[in-house]
Symmetry: C2
Subunit: 269 residues, 2 copies
């Protein structure tokens, strides 16, 4: 008899198999990624150098910044001509009008503009600051920024396919970014691209220890994995953009868009 | 030369020491916790049964539900007399007026009330649904609910002190709950009580690979640990209310209140 026991496990079983711990292994020594690099190949090579052997069921969490670099998502702000709307928002936020123009081109909707703040709904569906455009760790030139990958689910699939081809292992892949959060301090990892796992596990229909149905249990396992990977990668650390989780039971397929709450169902708004 | 490299690490070093992986170990076989139980003692005993030896720097993530049970935070709704305000909110939300009364007594402010929805700012400072009051896995009686611990930081300290006394190890302890989130689907673990670690690591002042200062990097490491623990505990699984993280560099002391963003600084509202 256990604490959270569930006589009927419904569609979700234990997330951990047996008593072996979940491990989060960071791959050190990844080279500085360049446009055109084959990321799957770089990851498999780094794994070899780290004495890490991929196994079926591993989930490889890859920081979006290196995916963007490999896919040459650099943007030179000197080539941006801000629209009137961008100039207006730049006045409100105090941000570079060319950066605001880049943000608008990456976004579907402006959620919040205030001094120092520009929060948008990204074309990929999620809500975040400055459309996930990265200015740090991009390069020596102040005017160059890095956009998120065009299709992070597709990027994740390509990496998964490469790892399967080169290592033989059926892994899941998450392309992760870090987002700020309402109500709470600091950034946490989220999944913006997914391949080889179901990003949200539906545990509705499960029953609790006393037989009552659990009505609202959707487990965002891809986000939980992306956040757990932060424990290894850090945000300002010496550079571990690839973290591999082992021991987490995953299955299925899906898109990172499943992690996004439709605005009309957002209880907090 | 690495991807996220930081010539000046500022106040935060690597979050992972060397190349050893971070491990998340669930303690299986915890007994059903009863009011008055000494949780620290139960945890140390379960660790022994799991062949787990505590080491300095381990972080023990304990589900709030077992802390509340040990502290006898059960509440019988049949003893609740709803106020006029509670009855009004019960009409709006469709919830049991006695439950709403319990929620109001645990809260400082109602953030949102709508059919099926009652989101409040808890007396502990965070914003969550129905003040974290748990109805599942509480007991056979439908009318009994479980409130959050009175002082989760204090609960964490007591558990940490017990583990130190019984095992000799200097561990960190997190009392965790799961919260829904704006914008994204599903619940994730958050830290509502902390002892023996600094819950937010301030990496401001660190510089990126190209020497630019990172201005907005607060790492909510206690929340990241609480979310990572979900990978082992699940939410409806067979019951792993205690998960131990090893290999995450932590230091200092603090209160889980540091994880809460003051309303006037909430960029998303």
């Amino acid at each position: 008899m256990t604490q959270f026991g569930s006589p009927s496990l419904g569609r979700v079983g234990r997330l951990q198999s047996g008593r072996s711990p979940v491990t989060l292994t960071g791959l050190t020594g990844m080279p500085l990624v360049q446009p055109g690099d084959d990321l799957g190949r770089l990851i498999v090579r780094a794994a070899v150098e780290n004495d890490y052997s991929f196994a079926d069921g591993d989930v490889v969490v890859v920081a979006a910044v290196i995916v963007s670099k490999a896919e040459d998502r650099f943007m030179d702000l000197r080539e941006m001509t801000p629209s009137a709307h961008a100039r207006e928002l730049a006045d409100v936020t105090g941000k570079d009008p060319r950066l605001v123009e880049a943000v608008l081109r990456e976004s579907e909707e402006v959620s919040r503009a205030a001094p120092g703040v520009l929060i948008v709904r990204h074309r990929l569906g999620f809500t975040s600051a400055v459309a996930g455009i990265d200015h740090s760790n991009v390069g020596e030139i102040e005017d160059v920024v890095l956009l998120l990958p065009v299709d992070p689910d597709g990027s994740a699939r390509a990496i998964r396919d490469d790892i399967r081809r080169l290592s033989g292992a059926e892994v899941g892949v998450i392309v992760s970014d870090t987002h700020g959060r309402p109500f709470r301090i600091g950034n946490v990892g989220v999944a913006i691209g997914v391949a080889g796992l179901q990003p949200v596990v539906d545990a509705r229909g499960s029953r609790d220890l006393f037989g009552r149905e659990l009505v609202a249990t959707l487990i965002p396992i891809a986000d939980q994995l992306a956040t757990a990977a932060c424990l290894v990668s850090g945000e300002t650390d010496e550079g571990i953009p690839v973290v591999i989780a082992r021991g987490v039971l995953t299955s299925g397929e899906g898109s990172a868009r499943e992690l996004i709450r439709p605005a009309e169902q957002d209880l907090y708004r």
